[in-house]
């Protein structure tokens, strides 16, 4: 457990996880997608949302803390924290489609200016240049979650002019187009938290708007990572750095093995 001391400077990923976690409010029922939402939701629960309930697509409802950090949304460690273990209809069905959850958190591969997510393919669907994972529950989160938070590491290819496949509907063509498609009202992505900053969506046009950057990050830097001409909020803020206590929680309690934050999950000897 080297390097957990909280005096080490926060990494971009730590900033992202803390910033996303801060968006969760206490008592909320949170659909936790796989990958980045896992440390973010657990960070929130250990810092300021002790009463949040974590929901997992495969059928788990957890309001306790698992014995270790789950590596995926279907990790066996979660059963010790679950008050309900059921099937997809218990969570994605009755809680998400049924409208009984508050917020969903998703890792996204790439996103367009209206928050539409592609995790399916680059190039034509029938003969793609790069084939990606597909939806899992992501399309359901995007279709149905009352509030939706996306998490992404920056890379210009992840913010393209247009995406080749809408795996997870965002605000579609902007404006009222999402409603016109028949999706439930007052939904769609609300925030995108990245390794550079935080984005919201314009309430009218539904276009992504840069709303905050981490200390030291410039708007120009963000623009370079995004293929379309990015709108910036007139109220752009600097996102406060993780506090010492936040970093301590994240490093010592949430992910002491560095499974997410130091990529230990993908080394051969975790």
């Amino acid at each position: 457990m080297d390097g957990v001391a909280s005096d080490r400077k926060p990494s971009d990923r730590e900033r992202m996880v803390v910033a996303a976690g801060r968006l969760i409010r206490d008592g909320e029922r949170v659909f936790v997608g796989t990958y980045w939402p896992i440390p973010a939701a657990l960070f929130a629960k250990r810092s300021h949302t002790p009463r949040s309930v974590l929901l997992f697509e495969g059928g788990l409802v957890c309001s306790a803390l698992p014995p270790r950090i789950p590596l995926i949304a279907s990790d066996p460690t979660l059963l010790a924290a679950s008050e309900l273990a059921g099937d997809v209809f218990d969570t994605l069905g009755a809680l998400l489609h049924g409208g009984r959850a508050d917020v969903g958190m998703l890792s996204a591969h790439s996103v367009d200016r209206y928050g539409n997510i592609n995790t399916t393919c680059i190039g034509p669907y029938e003969s793609p240049n790069v084939r990606l994972a597909g939806s899992g529950g992501a399309c359901d989160f995007g279709s149905l979650a009352p509030r939706l938070i996306l998490m992404m590491e920056h890379d210009p290819r992840r913010f393209p002019h247009r995406i080749d496949f809408i795996t997870t509907p965002g605000h579609l063509g902007g404006g009222e187009t999402r409603l016109q498609a028949g999706l439930p009202p007052r939904r769609g992505p609300d925030q995108v938290v990245t390794t550079l900053g935080l984005f919201g969506f314009d309430p009218e046009s539904r276009e992504m708007v840069l709303e905050g950057v981490y200390p030291g990050v410039t708007v120009e830097e963000v623009r370079r990572e995004i293929q379309w001409s990015l709108r910036v909020s007139p109220y752009l803020v600097e996102i406060p750095e993780p506090t010492e206590e936040e970093l301590r929680i994240l490093r010592e309690e949430v992910d002491p093995y560095g499974m997410f934050l130091r990529d230990r999950r993908i080394s051969s000897t975790p």
Binding site: S82, E83, Y257, R264
Partner: protein, 321 residues
């Protein structure tokens, strides 16, 4: 969006739970399917004189009969209403045949049809398509739900005529089950009927349990949990709360009670006497049980037949192999 109640101890008396969470005019779902009928809660609803309820339940028995006879119910959504011995439920009949104590509007389905309507309501699906009920009179006799209940259309996938069932939604639901923690993580076993889906249609859920146990005990076996605690607004510890129905592993159905009820309630006067004796003059479940007598309860306890325990495992760290 209903509020989250996830982290609170929601234990209260039945009197408080019914008074706070069941409102005149509500669509009230009663859980159970001959097994686990919430009698204690229904009796408290009668005592508090709730009115104009739309009752929704998979199969009506004495419980629904009593609520109807006591004048609490204006509308009934169900697949069935009868005394399982079998014999008529007389108050139900008086209401439907003669409007006593007042007229009763009906909305009926087959059991599978109603269960699918609950499923659609639980998930908030626009509708579900089925082949059951085609050709039956249920398609013609739509009641107060009007055209928000069933429709027949030609399947766009080429299966000929199909019956579309619209979702049902409930304001409040009550279930009586084996055990719950103080937050309302209720666990049930035995025959489950369509109770899970019926409850999931509810904005508020009152969990009545034979026993309240620690949250940790619930977590030893989370597959038994019917509905998560944050969906629950009140938890009532109410042993024998389903009598004269049964709770698997706790007590048997009181068949004799059902037969007596049938005879005693054939007349309106007889029903009123029953109501007075068993419900209005008993202040709560404790007094009802006292009236019933210890011997009768003892006779209803079955033998024990214990489940083999299983391990869910404990996965704590990321050790080297």
């Amino acid at each position: 969006m209903p509020p989250s109640f996830s982290d609170k101890d929601k234990r209260m008396t039945m009197e408080e739970a019914v008074s706070r969470f069941v409102r005149d005019g509500d669509v009230l779902y009663l859980g159970g399917f001959l097994h686990g009928e919430p009698y204690a809660a229904a009796h408290e609803i009668i005592r508090q004189g709730k009115r104009d309820l739309t009752l929704s339940t998979a199969a009506g028995t004495l419980l629904v009969d009593q609520l109807i006879g006591a004048g609490c119910v204006r509308r009934l959504i169900t697949s069935y209403c009868w005394n399982p011995i079998p014999a008529p439920t007389h108050a139900f009949r008086r209401a439907v045949e003669r409007g006593i104590p007042h007229p009763l509007e009906l909305e009926e389905y087959s059991l599978l049809g109603l269960s699918l309507a609950y499923f659609a309501g639980a998930l908030n699906l626009p509708f579900v398509a089925t082949k059951t009920m085609l050709g039956s009179s249920y398609l013609e006799k739509q009641g107060f739900l009007g055209d928000r209940k069933l429709r027949v259309m030609d399947s766009p996938f080429g299966d000929g005529p199909v019956c579309l069932i619209a979702p049902l939604r409930h304001d409040v639901g009550i279930v009586q089950l084996q055990r719950s923690d103080p937050r309302g993580n209720g666990q049930a076993w035995g025959l489950l009927g369509p109770t899970k889906y019926g409850l999931q249609c509810c904005d508020r859920v009152i969990v009545c349990a034979e026993e309240i146990v620690e949250e940790d005990k619930i977590r030893t076996d989370p597959n038994r949990t019917l509905i998560p605690g944050f969906r629950c607004c009140a938890v009532v510890e109410e042993p024998w709360g389903a009598h004269p129905s049964y709770i698997q592993g706790y007590y048997d159905r009181d068949w004799r009670f059902a037969a007596e009820y049938e005879r005693e309630t054939r007349t309106e006067g007889g029903f009123k006497q029953f109501l007075k004796k068993w419900i209005l003059k008993t202040k709560n479940r404790k007094e009802y049980l006292k009236l019933l007598g210890k011997d009768r309860l003892t006779a209803l306890r079955g033998g024990r037949r214990v489940s083999s325990s299983v391990s869910y495992g404990l996965y704590e760290g990321f050790g080297e192999p």
